[in-house]
Amino acid sequence: MSELIHTIREKSQELLAAGRVDGILCLVRDRFDVVQPRLIFRAEEIGSIETSPKWNLAKLALQTIRQSGPSFRLAVVCRGCDERALLELAKRNQFDATRITVLGYTCSREQAESCLCVRPYPEKPLAGEKIEGVDPFADPRVSALLTGDEGKRMARWAGLLSRCIKCYGCRNACPICVCTPCKLEDDLWVERAVVPTELIPYHLIRAFHLSDTCVACGACQDACPVGIPLLTLQLLMRRRLQERYAYEAGLEADRKSPLLMDFDHASPAGFELPAWTVSSEAPHER
């Protein structure tokens, strides 16, 4: 048994025994040797907690909290991406953050490389050592889709996205996609039950709604039955958000997304027109 799992089990035991949490959401190896997410309540079950395979638990945690009573406190054994997703959900008032305790563990180098993860660790890891992330833009598969001739890329993306069978798996798997009603189910925006999928409305609206909330966990991509590289769709927006506003989703609990309206702060941009807008006049004085 690795040390990482050992630390997690010990801590879970401690929390349950002290009564600081009422349940623990984690991956559990059951008696048929199948690993799946479970909500455990008793100390006997703690011995079967697992940390792999990758399974995003943030959405399950949200559902658990919503379906339980107001005093129910939950601990979640999860990876860094889940921690960020939970923080992002709490920031958007989806649940009371004090009710969830995150027992985070770091990912290994191989795991980080398979996810192309920039931050393969939670902010406050309970177990494991923080390792440096992978730059997704250095990956040839990603850079082929994000750089190069625009026309060719447009055809390439259209080809990839037109594989879509509109199973809504990407939306359902995404820990952040929790809006009701969802625009993707509204005939005004996306025709329901029509395949092939309309590419711009379905895919780009979905992608844009996550532009400032995507924590790059890759759940959409893992859920996609036809293998569309959905995470790649978010990467450029995430990077630009970081370049322009030094903002990354899921990191700062007290900082609102720069794309949201905020009357408390002064003008976020100056009085000068950004260089990329079209103007028929010379830059004006402030």
């Binding site: 994000l146 625009e150 026309g151 060719k152 890329r153 447009m154 055809a155 390439r156 993306w157 259209a158 080809g159 996205l161 037109s162 594989r163 625009k183 925006w189 092939p196 309309e198 590419l199 711009i200 409305p201 780009l204 609206i205 992608a207 844009f208 709604h209 532009s211 400032d212 790649t232 769709l233 990467l235 450029l236 927006m237 630009r240 958000l241 322009r244 720069p258 794309l259 949201l260 309206m261 009357f263 003008s267 976020p268 941009a269 100056g270 009085f271 000068e272 027109l273 950004p274 990329w276 807008t277 079209v278 103007s279 028929s280 006049e281 004006h284």
Partner: protein
Amino acid sequence: MNAPERNDKKPSPRVLVFACRWCALVGADAAGRKKTELPASFRVIPVECASMVEPDSVLRALASGADGVAVMGCHLGGCRFNDANHVAVKRMEALGDLLDTVGIGRRRLLLSFGTAHEGHEFAEILGNFLQELGPLPELTPWRKTLLNLPAFR
């Protein structure tokens, strides 16, 4: 199935303009009153503020047949609704990133803040935009013609 041949008389690109009624719509109005010559292939939707234009609407317009979309608002700092148009700027810029990602390109999205409130300015900006859109490839594979989808070719 091959894409239909474009004939010599290529229709001028279709543009949907979201114009802030306090600024760009005044410019559009003035251009009309002066009878400025403009291609007839654009339509203007007046909005109360540029920040009311959801990026989703821009995407919907592109999907429904527009070759380009223009979002025009007031000067930054000159918005009637406090800093609302700053939000529009930031959202539209993020949308531009998404369009860049998939290769549609942010060139199809015209953003102009505070520079279209006079007739000649509106005409100039829109005229340039229409010209720029002309040589761009059609968005056909991204639209709903079933047989045009690459998977069905």
